[in-house]
Symmetry: C2
């Protein structure tokens, strides 16, 4: 873990680290915000997964989340959205390859060599953070768009690993929307049966733990009816008796202005779960 | 005024307009945040001037100011930092030409044709905003770095025009630091007497109104001792009996993480002045 950025922010520190990822086979950047409380005691962590085209920078520069993390004494950990480097496979498109890892383990060449963001986010990254930073093993997870998809599937697949989960404008049914169909075809191949392992609308049917799902969605989001479709998850969650709060926020679009407007409420909810309040 | 961005944000709207500037002789972008209160009544305005290399986007995406503007019912207006367009003079350097207008009226060719940011910010822009947006003529002004310089000189030169002024990490003595010497030489020529009209440490000696100056400065700012030198302004303000609060903030650098950490306190102060609370 080499610290490459270190900036005072709301009484704590907004850092960025570079580290070698064994799982991904490349160097990665990860952003870590440590609130003022972390100078005195280990603090719980909210993992944030970003959307298509993002790096570790978008959330830390645009969401204004540090203010709330400082208020509630949470660390924020925001990884990049895909493996990186010259030898990592890529595509011309913004929605495949670098910047578009979809938080899964690819099984089809050439993607399968590096694209293992699922294992990275679930196992390698928390182990690294918990070994090197003043944090506890109390974890929450959230994200935006492709990252909202990542947060949902990772929480649903790992009972007991996270105390809370939320998402902004998530891709909830990747098997049934263009972004997901394109990425899953490339990364996982044409057998749609294999896609179910990374599709929240499938996973919610049989989740081993009924962690409540908090989802905020702007009703003026340009991708709502084509790529996001939170109604599909709500239907399956209701059928499975899985608690889910879907808040349709009037007039909001898909941008970080939407995330910024409601991240404070999400962090308050995560803090309550993480600190047992 | 053509609206080119319109995004819901903290219950209000983050807009960006394109308009023809007569003063600058080019098209300009300006960001306008309208808080929720503006749907019901005209609200006062905080003008924000950005620093070197910035456009109208930096403040609205990175400072997290909309939350506080919504809380206090202020509009935020953030112009670009220089004239723009293919026929506008420029330099290779980041600290001269486009993105580096220094909020003055240039008198030396080729700059004098378009670089009249002082008149734009003082007169043309407020007239436009007050004619087209649901705002009152109660104005405050603030800014960062080169924009902090702009806020200070504009408030000091225009008694009665602003109800409050503040600055983050401002260039307070441009006549005596490398950034200012380079820009003023180019824009105003070699007669240093002419520079005094745009130098806060000179203007504070004879200001027609002793509006209190609130300045936040990070003590880990990489430009503190070479380009910013708030001590030079403090000495002159104290000598002139001009009220000035200089807060040296430990560990903070020159980035927007610093602005984000304290913009809430500045907006609270401006709101008190603007709303008479």
């Amino acid at each position: 873990m080499e610290r490459i950025e270190h900036r005072a922010c709301f009484g704590g520190w907004q850092d960025v680290y570079r580290h070698r990822s064994t799982v991904l086979g490349c160097d990665m950047h990860v952003a870590v915000y440590l609130p003022p409380q972390a100078a005195l005691e280990a603090v719980p962590v909210l993992y944030w997964l970003s959307g298509l085209t993002c790096t570790e920078q978008n959330f830390i520069t645009k969401a204004g989340a540090q203010r709330y993390a400082a208020e509630h004494g949470l660390a924020l950990v925001a990884p990049d959205t895909s493996p990186r480097g010259e030898d990592v496979a890529d595509a011309e498109a913004y929605d495949l390859g670098k910047g578009a890892g979809f938080y899964l383990n690819a099984t089809v060449a050439p993607w399968s060599q590096h694209y293992r963001m699922y294992d990275y986010v679930v196992d390698e990254l928390p182990a690294l953070i918990e070994a090197h930073c003043p944090v506890t093993d109390a974890r929450a997870i959230s994200g935006h768009s492709m990252g909202g998809h990542g947060a949902l599937i990772i929480a649903l697949k790992n009972p007991g690993r996270y105390r809370s989960v939320s998402a902004f404008s998530p891709i909830v049914a990747p098997s049934r929307v263009p972004w997901g169909e394109k990425a899953f075809s490339a990364y996982l191949g044409d057998d749609r049966g294999a896609w179910k392992a990374y599709d929240a609308t499938e996973l919610v049917k049989t989740a081993g733990e009924k962690l409540p799902l908090l989802i905020d969605q702007g009703d003026a989001d340009e991708f709502l009816h084509t790529q996001l479709r939170p109604d599909l998850l709500k239907t399956e969650a209701d059928a499975a008796g899985h608690p889910m709060i879907l808040r349709m926020q009037p007039s909001y679009d898909h941008s970080y202005y939407f995330v910024a407007s409601f991240i404070g409420e999400h962090i308050k909810c995560h803090a309550a779960a993480l600190r047992g309040r």
